[in-house]
Each structure stands twice: as C-alpha cells, then as structure tokens.
Symmetry: D4
Subunit: 149 residues, 8 copies
C-alpha cells in the first residue's frame, strides 16, 4: 500500500469535492483528501471571531486570510497532488494563487474547469500535469496513477 | 551600490509599469525592472508563430503559455521583489498565479490594486509585504527600501 | 485524520503551555505539542551536568545552550506551526530567535503577547500568521484550522 | 579579489556600524556592508507615510515592519556574514529575530555584546561563529577571514 | 525495523522487476517497491482514455506522458534508491531521463544492464552508486545494504 | 541588459550548436552558450589521458565520464535554459540523462528533434517547455523570450 | 511519543555503539539507532562479492565504498542526530567525512573522542553541538534531550 | 568567458596549492582559487588573538576553529569544484570534513593523494569526481574541463 495526499483547491459552491472523494472511496483508493475550510462565512469571518473585531475591512480580511493560510500552506506543502477547480463565477484569485504556489513547490497539479475558461487559464493550465473538465475525469486519473504496476 | 531586481507582473492595459520605471529612474534607483512580454497579441500567438499552427485552441494556448513561462519563471526566480498589479477587467489568473509562485519561493511581493478588489484578493494580499493603490506608492516604497542606512 | 505538530516556544514562568495543551485535548484535536525543556535550572545547568564543569561562565552557558539546541532545532524543523509566547519579564531573546528561525524555514507562527508589547515586537509579529493575546485564542485558532472542511 | 557581503543588524543608538565600516575601509577590505534603515522615526513611520494612516497602532506597526522586511530579508539572504549587535537598552527582539533568521539560513553570525548579557543571550551566542565585545574585534575578525592565504 | 523505498525504472518487456521483488520477499527485506505503470498499451493510451481523443499524435503522447509523470515523479522523489534497467531494444530515453532526474535529486541509483551497453551508458553509470548485470546482483546489494549492523 | 545562460546538450555530429549560436549573435542576444566538450575522441579518452591507463573498459569509460561531469553538472546547474538535441543515430542516453537532470533542478528545457522521434521521446518532451524541430525555431524562441517588454 | 533517529558513525573496533544502544534501551528512549555495516571484512569486500572481482585495488575499494554509501547516505540524511566516534587508531577519514556531510545537511552532531584528540579534531568539534568523552555521556545527553518538558 | 571558483582544501605543508595556481595561470584559465588560511600558527591562534585568551585548550581551539569556519564555509559553498589534498602526515580530519561537507552540498570534488592512501581514503574517493596523484594532473583536469567546446 502506498499513500497519496491530494489537496482540493478552489471553487466552493458546487459539490465537486464530494464527487471526487466519493469516487475515490468507491474505488478504495488509499488516498487522503485535504482542502481549505469550505464554509464561506466562517472562512471570511474567522479573523474577527478568533482574534477580535476590526473596523477597517482590509484588516478584517487580512486577519482571516492569514489564519486560513496556516492550514492551506501546510496542506499544499504536504500534498502529492493538487487539484484546482475553477467555476464560472467570482474572481477565484485564491485558486490561481494556490496553483502558482503548488507549481513553485514542484507539486503536480490537475486543473479542473469548463472549456470556455481555457484561454483565461492558459498560464495555469500550462504549469499543470493534466487539465480535466469533470470530477469523474479526475477520479479516473486518480485510479490510473495509483494502480498496481 | 547594491542592486535590486523587481519583476512587474499582471495587468497589461494601462501604463503602470512605465510609471514605476520612470519614477525609479527619476530617483536614480539602482534597480533592474523585468516583466513578461506585454504585447497581448504576440504573447497569445507566440506558440503558433514560433513552433507551428495548432487546430485545437487548447494546444495553441498551451504552446504559447509554456514558451512565455520560460521567460517569466526565470525572471520571477531571479527577482528580489515581485509587484503584481490587478486591474478592473478580465480574470487575470496569471497575475494571481505569479503571486502564488513568488510567495512559495519566499519572494517579497507588493500587490497593487484598487480598494474595491480587497475582499476578492484577500488571500493574495495576505501573503504580501505591502498592498498599494497607486504606482506612485510603489515608487515611494522602492525609494524607501533602497535608501542609504 | 491528519496530524499537526505544534512547537510551543518562549516564556516558561506561567502555565500557558498547559492551557493550550489542555484546550486541545478537550477539543480532541489530533495534535502533537513539542517544546523546549522548561525546567529553568536543568536547562541552564545541562552543559556542566552532562559534559563536565566549566570555570568560565560563557562556556558554561555555551555548552548548555548547544545541547538544548539539539532538541529545539529538530522540533522546530519538524513543526507545522510554532507558537511563541512573550511574557512581561526578562529579555526572552531565545523566543525571538526561535521566531526568526521558524520564519526563515517558512513555518507558520502565532505570536502570543500582551498588547503593551506590540511596538517592541512589531518585526516578530509582522512575520507571523496570527498575533494572539491569550492561550484561549490560540486554542480557538487550532480548533478552527484543523476542522473538517 | 573576493567579495564579502556583511549585514549589520541590531542596535541603532550608537555608532558601532560606522566603527566597523571605517575599520574595514582603512584596511581596504573588499566588503559590502548592508543593514536596515537606521533612522528610528522613519523606520517606525514608513507604513503610514508610504501607504496611508492607520487608527489602530497594531496595524500601523505592522505595515511599517512589513515594508522594512522587504529590505532586511533580501539583505540577510544575500549576506555572507551577519553581525548582530545587542546594546544595554530596549528589548531588541528584532535583533534576536534576525539572528535566528540568519542561523536557519545557514549564515555565519558574529554576536556583539557586553559580557553582562552573556547569560541572556546564550541561545543566540550558541548559534554564532564568534562572540565579540567591541567593534574593533569585529574588524579584526573581518581582516583575518579575508586575508590572502 | 527500518524501511526502504526502491523505485524500479526502465525496461518493461522482461520480468526483472518480479525477480527483484521476489528475491527481496524471500529474504524478508523491509522494502517497498514502486514503479511506473508497466502495461505498455495503457501507459501509451492513458491520455486519450482519461481526457479525450487527440488528432495530433504529439499531443496524444503528451497528455499520456504528463499523466504518467504524476505517478513517476512522486515515486522517484520519495524513493531511497532508484534501480534503472536498460534492455537491448528500443531507445529507452525515459529510463535515462529517470536516472538523470533521480541523480539531480541526490538519490542513489543502481544501473542494471548488459556489459555491451557500457560505453553508451557511461554518463549514466558514472552518476550511479553501483552498476549490476543481473537482477540477482541487485537483490544481493539490497540484502547487504539493509543488514543489521 | 539581462543575461541568459543557455546550455546546449546532446547530439555532437551536426552543426546545430553553431547554427543556434550564430543565430543568436546575429540577433545580438545577450546570451552565454555553454555545453559539453564536443570532441568525441577527447571526451572518451580524457580519463586515461589525464589520470592514467585502465585495462578494464568499464573503468576507462567511468573515469572519463566523471571528469566530463565536473563540467556538465556545473554548467547545467548554472543554466537558465537547457536545449537538448536528439539526432537520428546512437543511443544518446546522456542527452536524456541531461534532460532529466535539468528537469529535476526546475530548469526550463527545449527539446530539439525530428517528428519521427516523438513517440520515443514523449516523457522527455512532456517535461519540456517547448519542442522544436529545427535550430532556427530555437533561435526564434530565444529572440522572443529575451525581447524588451 | 516523539521519535528520534540517531546515526552512529565512526570507529568500529570497540563496543561504543552497544553501550549507547543499551543505555538508551534501559532508559526506554523512543529512539532508532542506525549505522554503517560494522563488519570490517564485509564492508571492505562487498564490492567484489556483490559485483565481481577487480584486479586494480583502487576500483576494488571504490566499488565497495560506493555500495556502502547507498546505506550510509540515506541513514545520515534521515537522522535527527549523528554521533561520530573517533578512536585512537587508524586514519578514520570516513568518520570525519560523515561529520562534514552531516554538518552541511544541517544535522546536529555529537563528537565522541578522548581529550588527546582535541587539537586534531578542532574543526570537526567546532561544527558539533556537543563533544563527549564517553558513551555514558552520550546516553545522558540522549536522555536529557528527549525528556518530557 | 566563463568563470570557475576552485577551493583548495587540506594539507598545508607542501606547495601543492602554488603548483596548481601557477599551472592554471600559465594556461590562462579564468579561474579563482580560494582556500583556508594556510599559516599554521595564525590559524591555530586566531581565536585567542582576536577574541581573548582561554585557559582551557578545548575552548582555545574551539574559538579558532569557528572563526576559520566563517571563511571556509563561505568559500566551499561558493566553489564550483573542491580539490582536497591528503599528505602523508597528521590526521588531516579537517580535510576529510571538508570533503564530506562539499559532497553533501553537491559539489564536485577532486581528491589528491599518494596511492598508498587509497584504502584509507576509499569513502572519500568514492564521493569524488576524480582522484589524482599529482598537482600536475589536477592542472590538466582544470584545463580540460574549461576548454572551449
């Protein structure tokens, strides 16, 4: 048995993480899935809730983002593979930041997005080992790369 | 004399790079500014122009983005400081990717953007040493950090 | 399950370590807490006790500090997170040294101190992911960052 | 000819830096001396001056310290040798932080302080290559280590 | 007990991997053997099967090779020892690539090939810790290096 | 001005190196080209010539290959870009070894080969930033990536 | 529980390793001891026994030393602490080599030798965290550094 | 032009360094030679002369060796190639330490010694790129590896 750690970064409004995790469980892959706190409100408010209120919205965000980074940095650094999902809404700069962060550390990445985003994501895709369109494809890749010889 | 290399990443539709470079020149800073190819069309088409046509738009973008990365990776890796500018248009995922890439390498970053983008950029800002709103502010920081003791 | 190693550096005259460890245990966090030898006399005298007396006080301290560093370096290098506590007495340069050491290794740090020390600790705080005033806040951060998604 | 870069960290209220630099110049050493901004007021206020006022004193210090770190990190990372001076006043936690930072990067350090501080600085001294009491001693070390074979 | 991870790279048309693994099992070595997907057809076709057809044979190969690299890179990076087998057929550039990749990471390598290939493999052999002619020799080396003191 | 170091690895029987170097000179690129000793006989015999004869052909090759590696390793490690040329003859395992070595160090590579070799080189190409068919294409890439913004 | 890996390098003609291991076992330390093959004849002959005879004594030694290095490098790289013992006979250059190797990797070392060797070992001792004269002292250090806080 | 830095470590009682340097100068090699302070008395006494007397001979040596290491570490870390000479007298553990230090940093080494020392130096030689018997051979290697292609 040989373990993999897979970090699931990016979009938090659909159930793509669950699809991948369930697919991996069904296939009985020896794989640990990690990821950021995906509760949007908690993630935004953790700075103030944990360390006190801020009047200035910049510092409110700043405190929250730094606390979240304690978790995300460790998990990305320990991952063997980082899957980054881009959805059709929002700026999602944190997803692209994670992809860049993972690439600079020499991690393999799989980018998951609809074909319409291809041109806008070309630099992110260019640094990846695979570009998928559906969570099922990611599951198939995970099954393939962890196969017995 | 003590040299700095500053990489200017991100938005390519306004003259923010020129403003910073001119400000630094006026102040006679000993500083080398680097950055990506900022001609949008050339940057998009370099894959096909240099290595042959592609039918599939994904690979067309892929070839171009990889050639561009030969330059951008080297320059980010050699930079002492990476300034990343986010404008009000487009996805600009390459800018966030560069910020993540630079952060993982332990580079200092300065993020340059309008206050309206603060919430969307909170993870990127949280990893930065400074967040500025104008090129003039960046120039003032450059002047300050390179002062004689 | 996903394990964290948290190094508790700094002040040794109050029970802040116990408060954090107990708080984490109550919350059933999967976390290993490490730290220096906190018996002040033993820590000071270990050089002479283990390797023979010294006439010169400089070398007495030197031998002790180097033996202690075998432990503290390994533990800081293996930690995912370093919490550094500054109290209101003594110079506590070893605490600031640990914070600098951890930062240069790219570790996340949480600095724990009273608000009165803010100005004196600004460089140390600036390199941290969070600055807390109480052990309870640290426990809450630990609970938050290790939550299920 | 073979160049050295020597970073002078710590106490800013006496002329120890000038003594070392002048001593090195008199001896015609091929050496570049770097260091932080030593104007106390400028160093404290740079955050607000360069990037706008802050109501909260924590963030005022935070912005300043992070900008200063752009300079100090680069310079420590590029130094061959870091000299850290501890005086008899103030907390000087930034000096100890720099010593820890430099040590974790594998830099040689020379710690410069009065014998009275030996016990309080034992962990810092233990990680150093030399501990001196006067700037003249540092100059003599610099002359010795850069001698022709 | 002290574990080793041994990556078996290269030629996939004979049963040399099985011979080494069986030899190690008979000797009850505490060793985990890893390696690439050795089903030739699957390895070639995985790009198209997992992520969709490609008209251009270059991109067909490209997609497959990148997916395979997710596995092989991780496994080589985690290996304590990389055994690379060169057979008498085909170009086997991927085997030489793996040897170079492992060498640059500071991994010990054992190269396994017939004496006729000595001159052609001289650069690869020169970076290795041992050069063997038979799988039995590799097994004997594995037994020797994992012996009790 | 901003310098690049480009290592030219691989095939030594055609004048592809000269074509690239001349093309770069005509374009007045600020570029230093490095490479192995390309005199085949000297490269093979350097071990014996410099350090004494060997009866066993394995050690003859071994001594030569290790001396050559003093040069090639340094040059690859200092290169910004490694161009690896595969011709239509010989095993050329050293070229593939260099490509793997450069990739593991995070260097950008350009692989230069005829389309017929695509399948055999798929793992090498998959780790590259560009795959070219002619020296002219390489020159054009070099001109493009070193352009003013 | 928190594990340590301790590599025992150097002199192989007395039972110092056994003394340390037994002392650690009696104290129930959670510690894994590693070390080279200490059977002198096997260590010298492994090259020829495993990979065939050599006429030239240089290559006989060379083959053996390289096989032994597969084991020793891995074990030193994975050790938290390296204890190096110098006896009163032989050149023991491999012990000093191991100490230098461990130091460059940032490992803590303890050097174990009689006081008569102090001057000859001054460079080796200077890079160590502790210098002991007896195995008992090493055991006491191991007990001290692994104590509960 | 392409520069090399060559560190000359080890034996200080014959003129082997001068022979190599003169040979390189005659051949007009673009090469910087570095090395330790070779004045034996100065090297032994620098600790006391620069930083004050010591009663205990251990600390006298310790202070000296640590000051010398400021120089030798920097120079070894910046070298492209480390030549280590073993003579027929003394323990020369510092030479073996330097060889191990350089090897762990991935430096190429050339070991220079008489054939009688082959067995005692087998671990040191095994980590080297070349083993020479005379300074002339080293000069010839330097000339060869720096030749134009």
């Amino acid at each position: 048995m040989y373990d993999w750690i897979v970090y699931l970064s990016g979009e938090i409004h659909t159930d793509w993480r669950e699809q991948i995790i369930e697919g991996a469980e069904e296939a009985e892959l020896s794989m640990l899935f990690t990821g950021p706190i995906t509760d949007h409100a908690d993630s935004d408010e953790c700075g103030e809730k944990l360390l006190g209120e801020e009047i200035n919205p910049f510092w409110r965000d700043h405190k929250a983002a730094k606390i979240n980074a304690i978790r995300t940095r460790k998990m990305i650094e320990e991952a063997d593979l980082v899957v980054v999902r881009f959805g059709d809404k929002y700026k999602q700069w944190n997803a692209a930041f994670d992809a860049g962060y993972a690439s600079a550390l020499g991690k393999s990445t799989i980018i998951l997005h609809a074909p319409e985003l291809t041109h806008a994501l070309k630099e992110v895709d260019a640094a990846a080992q695979a570009v998928a369109e559906t969570p099922e494809q990611v599951v198939e890749i995970l099954k393939y790369i962890t196969r017995e010889r």
